[in-house]
Amino acid sequence: MHIDERADEIKICAYCPLMCKNVDAFHRHDGTETSAPHIRNMMLQKILQEKENPKDHPPETHLEEAAEVLYKTTLGGESTAWCGESMDIRANMIAGRTDVVEHGYAPPAVEDVRHRSQREHNAYGEPHNQRFANIDSTVLNRFQDRTAPSVGLWIGCTTAYYEPEIFESLAAILDASDVAAGIVEEERCCGLPQYKLGLRDTALDLMEHNANAINNRGFETLVVDCPECYRALNDYYPHFGHDISPEIVHSSQFIQTLLEEGTLELNSTVSETVSYHDPYELSRHTAPIDRNEYDTSDIHEPPREVLDSIPGLHREELRHNRNKAFSCGGDIGVRKMHPDVAQKVGQTVLDEVVTAGADTVAVASPECKRHLSETITENDLNLEVASIPELVARTL
């Protein structure tokens, strides 16, 4: 997607009387004027206008100027959720970033992600040949040994490298439910982090590889815990011509089904007060291209219903929840380029958790878990972050 394809939407946002300014998570904590949504769109409008009416300098001049500004957002979609016209500003920014990258003006941090992704097939640059090295090998081996299972587990980069206990907990849940699942050993980054940074070609390479690898496995269902991977496989892959054979379900949906069918029983009791943090890729999804599809496939209730099934768990809703949830700042672009803002954005979510009276933040995203855990450590807070699979696994 390029800015020409978003011209109408960009123009509207550029001329908006700032109706989403105060809700934008990045801008609220950063405060600089250039991080305001209308200013970012105005920069793109200027480029579009000069493409239509070329003057004495090429529009690329303004692309270079806009480069830094376009990355001053979490892409979390608060602006869209609050917008009276549901304008998909995230799509405008991704289009702008794509143009920036293709004209050679990618910021160094973005170039770094490109190189790491090309070299190691993940945005973090962790060694590809060590992708599953942090996962308990006895658990992993069982998944590797299975032939022709109908259910697959997609691990995802953040879980594989930094949060292996999420996979191990999911594995325990499947074992307890007598579901024999396999994994995609050739899995690479889903490509969505790269796509969102404007690294379209890198993203498309990853998508093509993964689509083939998944389809070769012959799964009927692929369980995905990472919301970015879920969104990529469900929506972006088909959009770019890579239909995925198995049905893609989020881990919370899969666990909910196991509970409803009675194949999974939760035996022991916990004693925790938990608030669920909605990750934006699940809670206010924006489709890859067509803004009219906004909000069609949000996953709000399955995570809550799974949590409510846990004996002894008391759940308190955050003030901003579902499609109005605040993003946590765990997006790779913001973490790399504006770590101080990412921390402040995360702190806002944690403040809501404290106000809600919870002692644990339940998350449905490994990126949220990693980022909020770091924010807790950084600010020396007495809170725990746990993924839904981990909370469920504690009761088995």
Binding site: K11, I12, C16, M19, K21, N22, G31, A36, M42, G84
Partner: protein, 488 residues
């Protein structure tokens, strides 16, 4: 401009607020020239020169602001205070360059006093964030303007803002209890947040509405309210504008204090019914609401409905009123059609422009004033262009009301001088308000667009303002050019 070099300017400011709070990028300078008025945005789009600050600075504390302003005063450098940039009158455009003081990093809620019902905040907090914080704790500011998502509390104080519920809760000048202000010389003034006093003039009211010309507001203590137990809406359709107007006046003057009180003229009523509900209706539409304990709301609503019935009003029920409330910001989001109004390009690139005159007038002059404004606009612009004007009356007082006239001009020939045409509209409409004992503006401020009319508003008052300005800002560094007080 000052005698000091750009590099020394940066160095001095960095020493005050730290390197991370001095922004030097060209994009940031451009962004700080923008606001909800279209002019600088269009100049920039057309690659023409725009007024930009020499430097943008983000203070965190009153001490920072004081040191910045003291430095600017010493060196004679213009200072423009900046909140969220939603001014529609160009008041925060750094016309003379200098230092732009962006207050968005001063956004703490310092205190909420649940017993005295006050909140003390730094100026840079956004109104949405502030209200959200209060709501979470069971309170409300009662201040919900159209710029709810795009204005800071400090900015709203500086422009004497009005919210949708002002008929019950008052404008922001009715909510202020105490302030801290950094004067143009850098000294700090702090008034006590008492409910009332007779110990000299109320200094808060000198700074509220002063548009940054008299100093920078660095802290404010405002009234807050318990979030109402009951918030009830009612929609009424009157046979014509006059009967609706009479009913509204009587409701307010009888002390039935609706929170929301909006009367639409016939054109806007017909449009609203057609566009919103697909129904052809004639008459004048009123939306009312009451906040408070249920028995109080019951009693006020009952009495108000009796007045409405007596004036021929047809009760349209609660749902249509509530529906308006739930979509109260909807008209402000541009879409593919309305974006033309925001895109009033210079040099004939676009064919549309629009604007809003807000004025307050005594009851005995309001209808006449509005009719005169409508007639003058149509006579002056209706033949040459596609031009229309419509109004609603949405802030009601014991002695008078406010009308909000939204004007539109379309089909503008390509060779038109858009700025000249734009200014002609204001020069046509604002003097009519003054002629009928109204004011230049009710709740948007005057900024750089309307300051030129202020001298004609009140007899002798503009000289008083000028004298105060000269006394407290002898070098004229604080936001020079607003309120018609003269440039730097």
């Amino acid at each position: 401009m000052s005698r000091i070099s750009q590099s020394l300017l940066y160095e001095e400011l960095r020493s005050i607020v730290g390197e991370e709070n001095v922004v030097e990028s060209e994009q940031e300078q451009v962004a700080h020239s923008m606001n909800c008025n279209w002019y600088t945005r269009q100049l920039w789009m057309d690659d023409e020169a725009i007024p930009v600050p020499a430097v943008g600075v983000y203070p965190h504390t009153t001490e920072h602001v004081s040191q910045i302003v003291a430095f600017a005063h010493r060196e004679g450098i213009p200072v423009t205070p900046f909140g969220m940039g939603s001014s529609g009158m160009g008041g925060n455009v750094p016309e003379y360059g200098g230092i732009l003081v962006d207050l968005k990093r001063m956004k703490d809620i310092v205190d909420v006093n649940e017993e005295s019902l006050t909140a003390t905040v730094q100026p840079g907090i956004g109104n949405w964030e502030y209200e959200d914080y209060l709501n979470e704790r069971g309170f409300t500011s009662g201040h919900l303007p159209a710029s709810h998502y795009s204005a800071t509390v400090g900015g709203m104080l500086a422009l004497r803002s009005a919210g949708r519920l002002s008929t019950a809760y008052g404008k922001i000048e009715d909510m202020i209890l105490g302030m801290e202000v950094v004067l143009p010389t850098g000294e700090v003034v702090k008034t006590k947040p008492v409910p009332a006093h007779a110990a000299g003039p109320d200094l808060d009211q000198l700074f509220v509405g002063s548009e940054g010309a008299f100093g920078i507001i660095t802290e404010a203590t405002l009234k807050i309210h318990h979030f109402p137990d009951e918030r009830r809406f009612r929609a009424i359709l009157f046979p014509d504008f006059e009967s609706g107007y009479t009913a509204m006046r009587k409701i307010v003057q009888k002390g039935l204090t609706p929170a929301l009180a909006r009367l639409y003229n016939e054109e806007e009523t017909a449009r609203t019914f057609k566009e919103t509900w697909g129904v052809e209706k004639e008459g004048a539409y009123v939306i009312l609401s009451w906040d408070g304990p249920e028995p109080v709301v019951d009693a006020k609503e009952r009495s108000a409905l009796e007045i409405c019935t007596a004036e021929g009003g047809e009760d349209m029920g609660a749902d249509r009123g509530r529906e308006w409330w739930e979509n109260k910001y909807a008209d402000y989001y541009p879409n593919e059609d309305s974006v033309q109004n925001y895109q009033a390009l210079r040099g004939g690139h676009s064919d549309g422009m629009a604007g809003t005159v807000t004025t307050s007038v005594p009851y005995d002059k309001a209808e006449e004033a509005y009719q005169a404004m409508e007639t003058a606009f149509e006579e002056k612009f209706g033949d040459e262009y596609t031009a229309w004007i419509h109004a609603h009356f949405s802030h009601w007082y014991n002695s008078g009301t406010m009308f909000y006239s939204r004007w539109h001009i379309r089909d503008i020939p390509a060779d038109t001088d858009m700025l000249k045409l734009y200014n002609e509209v204001w020069s046509t409409l604002v003097p009519i308000s003054l002629e009928y004992d109204g004011v230049v503006d009710h709740h948007h401020g005057t900024g750089r667009l309307l300051g030129r009319f202020l001298r004609k508003q009140d007899e002798g008052s503009h000289d008083v303002l000028a004298n105060i300005k000269e006394s407290i800002d002898p070098k004229n560094i604080m936001n020079p050019g607003v309120m018609g007080l003269g440039g730097h």
